[in-house]
């Protein structure tokens, strides 16, 4: 497979980047690390004639523990001592993104912007043509849900669920200036629309409230292999705890829906309770209850729903410094 031809633009500033995107509109994509976009291009998935590189925009690269430039390299953030000290869940979550090599190319913003995935979509042009495409590619019918009008491709980033539970927000630059949006409101159904970015808009940075440092957080990722694979489930939990007393908590699921999925509503009844394995199990069941998971990634929906409960339980045990019996026994 060979990259389709495109014109590469290399703006130096955010304003230049936004101007270029405004000019080319739907005929252009931003590219940072390229580890997601260029693979899709090789598959002739929505390839554009213009590609605007963000690699030359220096403003995007810097980061500290309160803000991360969208262009910061995953590996740089993962190995940063301040991050490891103040927000260890972020380096931990980055550590399970793809592989060592890709983390040295991929960016934090790129991970947040990673395209939704689906077995029927992430295939070569030849493959898609042989099934007459799908809603998200060249076709007009969803291959996952019979008669669906909206795309159910799965949001498959690892960092967004974590950052959402930490209360992060994002700065967006656009032709009309900058605006700040809570990350929890950044993503939008469906799998084609994906997010709130408008014409010419660019994700610039992620802001993390300092209060997040006082929370305990955990991220657990389900996948076939311990490296390389996209999540087929990610569970992020951030909690305010006093010993094993749960004072407040956020739960967000990745890779089970077209967007990161907040399950805060499912756990309100457990605030104020003490967390032991039994309570954590109840939380897990509550979070998994009623979830609709589609069959369009590795591992079956039934299994992934079961794992929502197990992984959520384990995350809640993590934030109270405990471990599940089955996990301890199998170590």
């Amino acid at each position: 497979m060979i990259l389709p031809p495109f014109t590469l633009h290399e703006p130096k500033t955010v304003d230049e980047a936004v101007a270029l995107k405004t000019k080319f509109g739907k005929d252009a994509d931003f590219v940072a690390g390229g580890t997601d976009l260029l693979c899709n291009y090789k598959y002739e998935i929505n390839a554009k004639p213009h590609v605007i590189s963000l690699g030359t925009v220096t403003e995007l690269k810097s980061f500290d523990t309160t803000r991360i430039g969208a262009g910061a390299l995953l590996d740089d953030v993962m190995t940063d001592s301040g991050m490891r000290r103040d927000l260890p869940v972020i380096p931990a979550a980055i550590g399970v993104i793809s592989s060592h090599l890709l983390r040295q190319t991929g960016t934090v913003g790129g991970n947040l912007m990673v395209d939704t995935r689906c077995f029927w979509f992430n295939q070569s042009k030849f493959w898609r043509d042989s099934i007459s495409g799908c809603l998200k590619s060249e076709g007009d019918a969803c291959r996952v849900v019979w008669g669906a009008k909206e795309c159910v491709a799965v949001y498959s980033g690892d960092l967004a669920p974590v950052l959402i539970t930490l209360g992060a927000s994002v700065t967006i630059a656009g032709p009309k200036g900058r605006r700040v949006v809570p990350l929890g409101e950044f993503y939008e159904h469906d799998g084609i629309k994906r997010h709130v970015l408008g014409e010419g808009e660019l994700l610039v940075e992620i802001r993390i409230p300092t209060e997040a440092r006082t929370w305990k957080a955990s991220y657990r990722k389900l996948r076939t292999r311990e490296s390389f694979d996209f999540p087929v489930l990610g569970v992020a939990v951030a909690a305010k705890v006093d010993g094993d007393l749960l004072l407040d908590a956020h739960v967000n699921l990745g890779a089970v829906h077209t967007t990161p999925l907040s399950r805060d509503g499912a756990i309100s009844q457990f605030i104020g309770k003490r967390i032991d394995e039994a309570t954590a199990s109840e939380i897990g069941e509550a979070v998994a209850d009623g979830l609709v998971i589609h069959n369009n990634t590795a591992m079956t929906p039934a299994y992934r729903r079961k794992m929502v409960a197990v992984f959520t339980k384990r995350c809640f045990l993590d934030v109270t410094g405990k471990r599940a019996v089955a996990e301890t026994a199998s170590r």
Partner: protein, 771 residues
């Protein structure tokens, strides 16, 4: 037994050519840059089953930069690696039988033009109802023309059926203390070698066709090209550059090799076709998706009484090696245990999928998994340690099986003892906490198919040696180095006989114009057959040096030994000379020395139908133990450690043997735990995971430590006592995992791959069964 003292044999030396490979200096087929080479692309069928109503290439041919287009009608003669099932056309002619089947080939100035041209080829298909799996293929078809292959002798879509009976199985089972039975299902899997298939073809100004191809079987390619293209073999030259792995996936002649040839013959420019990974998955000829029913009987002392195997395998659209696979699923279960009553039925079905064929451990892997799990069930019923019961049932060395396999050296008992003692088996089995387990399994595999594929009296392997005045030893053989290390074995065998180190040896195994025939790298035959041919050739050339030494210094030819680049007189050491001095004399009035050696398997086996299947001049044996733990909430299997013992007769190069064993463990763990060729009823004949992202192989992170034990049973007919070590070591890893899972959580997993979800389902079922 003290092994003889050798200088080169038995030494762990890095592979010949490995420095070039790890530094990127080595050239593979796709690296070739013949001036004027065009890019070849293949237009493939989007339908699993369809008639081709119309095929019009005129618009594509008119595109500037397109030099040639060929279609099925340009080479209608079908081919296949086995003479008994030549059923595959270079490109679909009036019908297509799987998604991805070639329909046309294009040669263009660059890939972009070729892809543009593909869009301009107009193909009108009339889709027909595809056969999705082997069970569907069993349904009778009223009209023969509706079969995938109308010419077959069956009334359904079966390709091959074999049946064998030995002894009296019904009686044996009726008298058994226990008969363990099970239905086992296996997903198809892929070899996932590193280098995609690639071929460069060049029809030169003299009308001679040269093909460079990443192939394991240059000779079979040579024959098939001659038939399909209508050129005598003398007008075809096959060159095998460095090959980045094969594992059986490059052991057939392929359509792309024919297409590249047809294109270059049409436009007289060199044409290169290199696959992308998806095309590799479409063309791989991987391990057959299989359903196998197995029953194993034993008496109250744990002695096996009989074995019944019924295998139904999904062959895909064409034959490939499938007839052999049909036999191997049964006959290769004849060891390492003594089986006196045996029944086998093997059926291979045609389906509308990419075809299955030979893959490392060909035909033996899936049945072995079932047999070893049921063996453990028997041991449990009898109440005997499975290791002890395996030792009790082991075939002895130098015996004959019920189906007339001649067993020579056999180190299986030593293999079992080695891993049992090293792993702490006796303190662990049945004694680890719930969730933790340990499992054992054995292997038995051919060391080269005794019968050649084609009826011929030409030896199975021939080696030529030339030595000129520089002293360098040039060794020619067409044995295909595919990364497994056959060039190194060749160099070591010759170096040992001539008393030189391997730096003197130049191995030339690429070019059919220069090297004599070897049948290829399949059936674990190369070390045994090429090694023996190399020894004979080296002995023949050594004889010339001995005679020269006698002429120079007197004495008898038997007085001389060759060691450390010296020719030493054992009777009178003062007469000793250097290798170069002896060579100088040998060249006088003679010129460069040449010699030849060959290997032909002895005549073996019984007189019944199918007696040739599984015959081998010798067999390898092995035993592995796996320790693992299972997370009972997630179903994930975590591998702790593998102990792997393999009887390879003699490790000519222990480093290479160890690498083969670890590589086999890695590949087998993939099949048992995660790999599968995923078809979905809605994917319309497409493989749903044709990429190395979605088709998961183990990464280094999942790979457990492996302790390797090489057992040397010193085979009397092997080169320096050697037997195979490339495929047999794959067999025991899968069932050792299956048996360890049973030890850990008490469920016998009968479907591969064993996914976390399937573990949870099995645990659930076990819980319900108890309550």
């Amino acid at each position: 037994m003290t092994p003889p003292s050798w200088n080169v044999i038995g030494k762990p030396i890095p592979q010949v050519g490995s420095r070039q490979k790890v530094t990127g200096e080595a050239l593979y087929t796709d690296d070739l840059r013949i001036p004027g080479t065009l890019v070849g692309k293949i237009l493939r069928s989007p339908h699993a089953s369809a008639r081709i109503v119309r095929l019009d290439v005129s618009a594509a041919l008119a595109l500037p930069g397109v030099h040639a287009i060929v279609t099925g009608k340009d080479a209608p003669r079908p081919f296949g690696v086995l003479p008994i099932s030549k059923d595959e056309p270079s490109m679909g002619i009036d019908r297509v039988r799987y998604v991805g089947e070639p329909v046309a080939g294009i040669a263009a100035d660059d890939e972009w033009i070729a892809m543009e041209a593909m869009k301009l080829i107009h193909v009108e298909y009339l889709p027909t109802k595809p056969i999705d799996d082997a069970k569907q293929a069993l349904a009778e078809v009223a009209n023969a023309a509706d079969k995938i292959h109308p010419g077959t002798k069956f009334g359904n879509n079966l390709h091959k059926m074999v049946e064998q009976h030995f002894g009296d199985l019904p009686k044996a089972f009726s008298e058994s203390f226990h008969v363990a039975k099970g239905h086992f299902e296996y997903a198809g899997i892929s070899h996932t070698f590193t280098e995609p298939m690639s071929a460069v073809a060049h029809f030169d100004r003299d009308g001679r066709l040269h093909i460079w191809s990443a192939t394991q079987v240059p000779h079979y390619l040579h024959r098939a090209m001659s038939e399909v293209l209508g050129l005598p073999m003398s007008r075809i030259r096959v060159i095998r550059p460095n090959v980045g792995g094969g594992f059986g996936g490059k052991s057939d002649p392929f359509p792309h090799e024919m297409i590249a040839s047809l294109l270059t013959m049409r436009c007289r420019r060199p044409v290169r076709i290199t696959f992308d990974r998806e095309e590799v998955f479409i063309s791989h000829h991987g391990r057959h998706p299989s359903e196998i029913d197995v029953a194993v009987g034993c008496d109250k002392n744990g002695r096996l009484t009989g074995l019944d195997i019924d295998a139904l395998i999904d062959g895909g659209a064409y034959g490939s090696f499938g007839v052999v696979t049909s036999y191997y699923n049964g006959v290769l279960a004849q060891g390492p245990y003594r089986i006196d009553n045996f029944k086998y039925r093997g059926r291979r079905a045609y389906t509308n999928k990419p075809m299955s064929g030979a893959m490392r451990g060909h035909g033996a892997v899936n049945t072995r998994y079932a047999l070893e799990l049921l063996f453990d069930e028997c041991a449990e019923k009898v109440g005997i340690d499975p290791a002890e019961m395996r030792i009790q049932n082991a075939l002895p060395a130098y015996t004959t099986t019920i189906n007339d396999f001649r067993i020579t050296s056999n180190g299986v008992v030593e293999c079992i003892e080695k891993v049992r003692d090293a792993s702490g088996w006796k303190d662990k089995r049945g004694k680890l906490p719930f969730g933790h387990g340990i499992g054992l399994a054995c292997s038995f595999y051919i060391s080269g198919s005794a019968l050649p594929i084609h009826r011929t009296r030409t030896p199975q392997s021939t080696v030529h040696i030339k030595i000129d005045m520089d002293g360098g030893v040039t060794v020619h053989s067409m044995a295909a180095e595919i990364g497994q290390g056959s060039d190194t074995v060749l160099a070591q065998c010759v170096a040992e006989i001539l008393g030189l180190d391997v730096s003197w040896i130049r191995v030339k195994t690429e070019d059919s114009d220069l090297a004599p025939i070897d049948l290829g790298s399949y059936s674990s035959r190369v070390t045994f057959m090429m090694g023996n041919a190399a020894i004979k050739a080296a002995e023949n050339i050594r004889e010339q040096l001995r005679k020269a030494a006698c002429r120079m210094a007197g004495g008898e030819p038997t007085d001389w030994v060759f060691r450390d680049a010296k020719v030493i007189n054992t009777v009178d050491p003062s007469k000793s000379m250097t290798y170069m001095e002896a060579l100088d004399e040998a060249l006088a009035d003679n010129g460069a020395l040449i010699a030849s050696g060959w290997y032909q398997s002895p005549k073996l086996g019984g007189a019944y139908k199918g007696a040739g299947a599984g015959l081998s001049p010798t067999y390898s044996f092995g035993a592995y133990i796996t320790e693992l733990h299972v997370d009972t909430e997630t179903g994930f299997v975590h591998l702790d450690k593998i102990w792997a013992a393999h009887d390879c007769g003699r490790a000519l190069n222990p480093l290479a043997v160890k690498s083969q064993i670890i590589g086999c463990v890695h590949m087998g763990l993939g099949q048992v735990l995660m790999e599968q060729w995923d078809f979905n009823h809605r994917s319309k004949g497409n493989i749903r995971n044709p990429s190395l992202l979605d088709y998961p192989m183990l990464t280094a992170k999942e790979m457990p430590p492996v302790d390797v034990f090489i057992v040397e049973s010193d085979d009397k007919e092997g080169p320096f006592g050697a037997k195979e070590a490339g495929e047999g070591p794959l067999l025991p890893i899968l069932p050792s995992v299956g048996n360890a899972i049973y030890d850990a959580i008490g469920v016998r997993m009968r479907e591969l791959p064993i996914t976390p979800a399937s573990i949870l389902r099995a645990l659930e079922a076990k819980k319900k069964g108890k309550s």
